[in-house]
Symmetry: C2
Subunit: 195 residues, 2 copies
Amino acid sequence: MARPVEFDENKVLNSAMEQFWREGYEASSVQKLLDCTGINRGTLYNSFGDKDTFFKSCVDQYHKIIDKQIESSLKNPELNAWDSINAYFDEAVLNISNKHRSMGCLLVNSLCESINYDKDMKKVVRGSLATIRKAIVARLKEAQKKSKLKKGVSVEFAADVLMNTLHGVRVNSRDGKNNRQLKELIKHSINTLKK
Amino acid sequence: MARPVEFDENKVLNSAMEQFWREGYEASSVQKLLDCTGINRGTLYNSFGDKDTFFKSCVDQYHKIIDKQIESSLKNPELNAWDSINAYFDEAVLNISNKHRSMGCLLVNSLCESINYDKDMKKVVRGSLATIRKAIVARLKEAQKKSKLKKGVSVEFAADVLMNTLHGVRVNSRDGKNNRQLKELIKHSINTLKK
DNA sequence: CTTATACTTGACCCCCCATTCAATTTTACT
DNA sequence: AGTAAAATTGAATGGGGGGTCAAGTATAAG
């Protein structure tokens, strides 16, 4: 017995997510968020809360993308450990639009912004990054069991190396590095861990 | 025949640089810059120009630090190629205060902010990063001449790997990774290139 | 001591920031 | 048709954003 919502929540979240992703938290004014989502001022506050809350929802939305990428790569049972890790980098970095690639990573960008000093935000961003690492760790354990992990390299350290490469690549993406160069960097990093 | 300046230009630039470094361009309001530098509003605009110009000067100031680090490591004639590269990472990442380390890198942070879309800013930030890479390339060429570079690895690619590791480490720094972990990541990356 | 020159100061400007809210519209149930 | 519930709307609010400027102040040259 109430008026139904007119906007598509998913579309709104995606548009806002892209805005935050491209320009960061600070530079994304509420007005810009209204413009890119097409919703009205009051609607935003009524349905999504204040800017902070909205941002967190957008990070959640971003995390959904990550989850999908993990699902079809790292958690794909048809792939062996290293193939799945390769597949993840493909999903996350290489096989995406130039537009998105040049925007880097919302999580990395947020770490590098002042919003990183907010306890809640930190928790959300770190949580999302931890999910990626966890999925990588699972596959590295598998690789280790099958003696496919380089000797003397621990699973935890290998995960750190891969995450570090991922972060570096994300920064380099924002610096305009092309796909070929990023691919080489990823390939090299993985090769240093593979047996 | 004019009144002499009262502020110490270098101190002002250092304080403002730290503010921009810690919180980024967008979150650093002019008021915050006045507070941390101790100078007056008019003085800032008279002596340093508008916020954009001031920011560029602060990046220049940051670049001076980088230059010093390069001078005592990568350009140190008493060190061989790989020792000098190790020394650079020490100077830039490991042997600095926890406070500074946790702030990451002003250049990387700027790449990840919306200011990255400003042509002038891009030029300044990229220029500074290019200086680091150039100094690394010089040493890698030396290593290659002395057959200390791993076979099949080009100087340019090795430089890309090191820069990517540096970027990754800078993001991880802002994520709170400790010195020991960063050291391991750097060591590993260098070892993959060294012969 | 006077004067030209530059630095310093903070009040002031307009604009856009995030946020609120009362009025309006749209629906579903009775 | 009437009404309760929720969504929508955009004007309004207070505050802080970046930037300006006229007045005051300190210096060195003449």
